[in-house]
Amino acid sequence: MQRIFQIDGVETDCWLGHDGSRFVLNTPTGAVACQLDPTGLPGGYKLRAKGVVRELRLAVGPEATFMHMDGRTYEVGRVDPAERLAGSDGGASDDRLVAPMPGVVVSVAVKPGDAVEEGQPLLVIESMKLETTLTAPRDGVVAEMPFAEGDSFGLKDILAQLAPEEE
């Protein structure tokens, strides 16, 4: 069965199978025989894979699996390939600036129709008591600036939209 895992923004297509005696995770770089056994601690497991045994703590969230292993914490996003196809909205990711966290717009430097260069300031936001200047991700033309000075916005709201690049 197929799964797409996302670690630090990098997606990897995997296929989990079972050869009758053990699970095998096929990744683009090879097949990994693996086994996961509970240790008795809350969320505690022993992972056997690639010839090593690692103790880890694990919690499964709705969209990602969180792990603590050898003193470090990791987040592995789980993408269902079927939902991936259904959820596509056609917009390229570098067309828009998405709010990294909730906040308030301090000032807006451009308006729809303005030509902007990569790195040019588009707006200043304030989140968690810090001012941040958001800049154009690429050269282009501003299509939309949905928020005005003083407006509040939420996590992942679109703060600026550039017109799609012409092919």
Binding site: T12, A59, M101
Partner: protein, 489 residues
Amino acid sequence: MTISKLLVANRGEIAARVLRTAKARGLETAVLRHVAEQEGPAHLIADEVVMIDGPTPVAAYLDISQIVAAATKIGADAVHPGYGFLSENAGFVAALERAGVTFVGPTSEVIDLMGDKVRARAFVEERGFPVAPSAIEDDDPASFVERARAVGYPLLIKPSAGGGGKGMRVVREDSTLETEIETARREGERYFGDGRLFVERYIERPRHIEVQVMGDGQGNVVHFWERECSIQRRFQKIIEETPSPALTPEQRGEICETAAGIARAVNYRGAGTVEFIYAQDGAFYFLEMNTRLQVEHPVTEMVTGFDLVAEQLRVAAGECLSAAQADIPQIGHSIELRICAEDATADFRPAIGDILLLDEPMGEGIRVDSGILDGGKVTTDFDPMLSKLIVHGRDRAQAITRARNAVQNYVVLGVTTNTGYLDEILAHPDFASGDVSTGFLAEQSETLTAPGEDVSDLLMAAAALSDERLVSDVMQIPEMYRKMGGWRN
């Protein structure tokens, strides 16, 4: 005057910490909770929880009339403000006074004086204590830019009413001075409702060293030694320790006595902290005085053996300090790590999420002052600091080892935290040798956030095998197809 019922006008780890001491001293206790706030450890400790409301959760904790009314309603005879929120608000102190409720802290006059960075600095300078070269806008607003130039570069712009690094700007070139002044003014107006500024010489590679002081308002002032807080991101501390590895015994005596002298000059009552900038050449300058308990007070408690909250409560009740200067030791070494919900690899962006699994370290020399519970939710309503991990060792090396072990075993799953980043700082050779400055984290940001060993395959294997639906789907496929897998390389 005695205190029998204490309201803690705060939340999170500090509310829990104050409540523990208050209960141990036999007081009745109460704490605030915003209507939309997650349950935290403090709500489980307090005898009584008072619900408060406001346009935002933070606004509720800043609502003087609502909090004073709450104290009166439940019959509290004292309020402990914790840190932040109303802890340094003279208007709050005055309102409590009018309601006949004791404020656990200094007088409103001292809060007013030390809360105004400009007046505080002038007060300290006039009494012969060291301050850095500076220019104050209020002295003559028309010539402020010229006088700022005369201080020399690099310089630091600060809001007069500021604190916690908010609105501070370092200026290295004359060409950016005026735009930076305008930005700092806007930030000052927004955060503190006060756009007045001052400028001071920026000390290159400075260390931040502060001294814990305590007074009883009856003429007795003592210090509880220093804390080094040079490990800062965005001007905010994340690792603090005591003793400072920078100071010789002579320098330690000098800086601690200077701090006590400043506190004596205002006949200080309660717990306070005098902060200094410490230059590489050993010179030190008064920065500000915080008229409250600090976030990092536990390291002081670990090396001195004193409970600073207990001392605060004694003094607030009109008693004398329990110790004279000679009775306050500095034994071993203590380090505090601030566990924050933030992404150190993305410019310390605050993180939110549900706490799916929480397992906090325990053991010899380990103390955890936590503000979170397993199953809780981390939102952006409040500061990203979740808890504090404090360790004690017989010396600095042992304290570092204990801190590393403990932070590596601090399990918070479901929300991104800085535990791995804190461990990288502790593992850095410059931290081990004590050769740091307040710019350390910025200078070393690439080293400290470099990706570790690539364990992606292990992570994906664990993610796959813990995905119950995936595993069940795989096991339902007829064996022949299961064995074939998706593809073969």
